[in-house]
Homo-oligomer: 228 residues x 2
DNA sequence: ACGCAAAAGTAAGGTAAACGTAAGGCTGGC
DNA sequence: GCCAGCCTTACGTTTACCTTACTTTTGCGT
């Protein structure tokens, strides 16, 4: 979530409309009114997607599109008042992800943007945050300070079980169940070893964990935000 | 390329038109005229994308969409003669990748399909980079140090499956599925041999792979950029 | 139809990462 | 201070995967 969107349009009314629509969906919206401003904001904010009007005061959206794509393969949705086939085909032909003609329904913008984001970031963005460490579920790794560490199968299953419990306490039994899919008694110690190993990968100080917390006598739980 | 596309529409004229348009672009086109037929062909051909008319003789495209997505997360583009906002929003709201209203320009269909496929399969161009080795999809070969090596059918399918997963872990089962299209149990060893052979073609040091990585207990994944 | 070469599949021994075990050391609660 | 529950470490074991050589199958040209 919390995608950053850059909207490039010179009409203030539309700017505000877009901002409202997308803000309601939880996006962070940046606005630019010209090609020059768009480039500046694009570099500064590094948005996850760009909404691009074709008509701009200091140039056309098509050439701006080329500049953006040369810098990064960012998803772009064209917005245009010109419903001419030629313009639409040109935009799509350049490699845009969608082309929406004005006036459009707010709902349609939302849905089309969502569709594009879903396709582009479905992979790679299947991540979870745990304070300063990031979990990349799809790759089976965690990242801290830019360094990526691979999880083993057991560690992965353990972390997933704890994460899926949404911060609630998970009993030793439940964890054993998840790791060995059976009423594995006598594995409590082994579980502890796996807990330790996981802590070494996700915690800054494994001996004083701030996320993977032990609840004496009950089990373990995963705290997502580490407070000071 | 050689993407497989399933077009579902009951008008024969449109069927032929779609077939011509897409065949010219090098796609393999399957056609179905009803929901029932669509499901059969979908399972048999396992297409890379589906073009779906909303109006079908034995049901509506929306519910068929649900059935397809339940089986697999395949990209779907709706085609519809109904230009009503309601239908468009419903289709997109369900999670379709695009919604094209009839009549449409052949060129627009091509471009919109291309846009979706580009995002889903990350294959904007005919070639892909894997660090120092280059994959030439159209020729079924890889190039390293200027030397071009041909891939076998199995190696190609394997590489394609891994690439299409965008760096995520692919389970042994999923890979077997892709290579033998069936729940091939007992082929795990054979798969490993193919992995090895592929590594010998794409890796500088096959025994210490930097791209085709094994994730013990989970599967394999393809890393695009090799870090030191 | 035949033979050849390339590709795919089989089998078996080897290896190391991941897992499990155990034993001694903490730490908080009574 | 003592016990129980948990931590931590080192070390042994296992199992999933690797590797190679060999056999079978497939596809193709003659």
């Amino acid at each position: 979530m919390a995608y950053r969107i850059l909207a490039v349009d010179d009409e203030v009314a539309l700017q505000n409309m877009i901002r409202e629509i997308l803000a309601a969906d939880g996006y962070t919206v940046e606005v630019a009114g010209s090609c020059a401003e768009a480039l500046t904001r694009f570099r500064a904010a590094s948005p996850d997607a760009v909404l691009l009007d074709v008509m701009l005061p200091d140039g056309d959206g098509f050439s701006l599109f080329g500049q953006l794509r040369r810098e990064r393969d960012v998803p772009v949705l064209f917005l245009s008042a010109r419903d001419e086939d030629e313009a639409r085909l040109r935009g799509l032909g350049l490699g845009a992800d969608d082309y929406i003609t004005k006036p459009f329904l707010p709902q349609e913008l939302r849905l089309r943007l969502r569709a594009v984001l879903r396709r582009v970031y479905r992979r790679g963005s299947e991540t979870a945050r745990l304070g300063e460490t990031e979990i990349l579920w799809g790759r089976g790794t965690v990242r801290r300070d830019g360094a990526e560490t691979a999880l083993t199968a057991k560690e992965f299953a353990l972390l997933k079980k704890l994460w899926d419990s949404g911060g609630n306490i998970v009993t030793i039994d439940a964890l054993c169940q998840a790791l060995w899919d059976g009423p594995m008694v006598g594995y409590e110690n082994t579980l502890m070893v796996h807990i330790r190993r996981l802590r070494e990968k996700i915690e800054a100080d494994p001996s004083h964990p701030r996320h993977l917390l032990t609840v004496r006598g009950l089990g373990y739980r995963l705290e997502r935000e580490a407070e000071g």
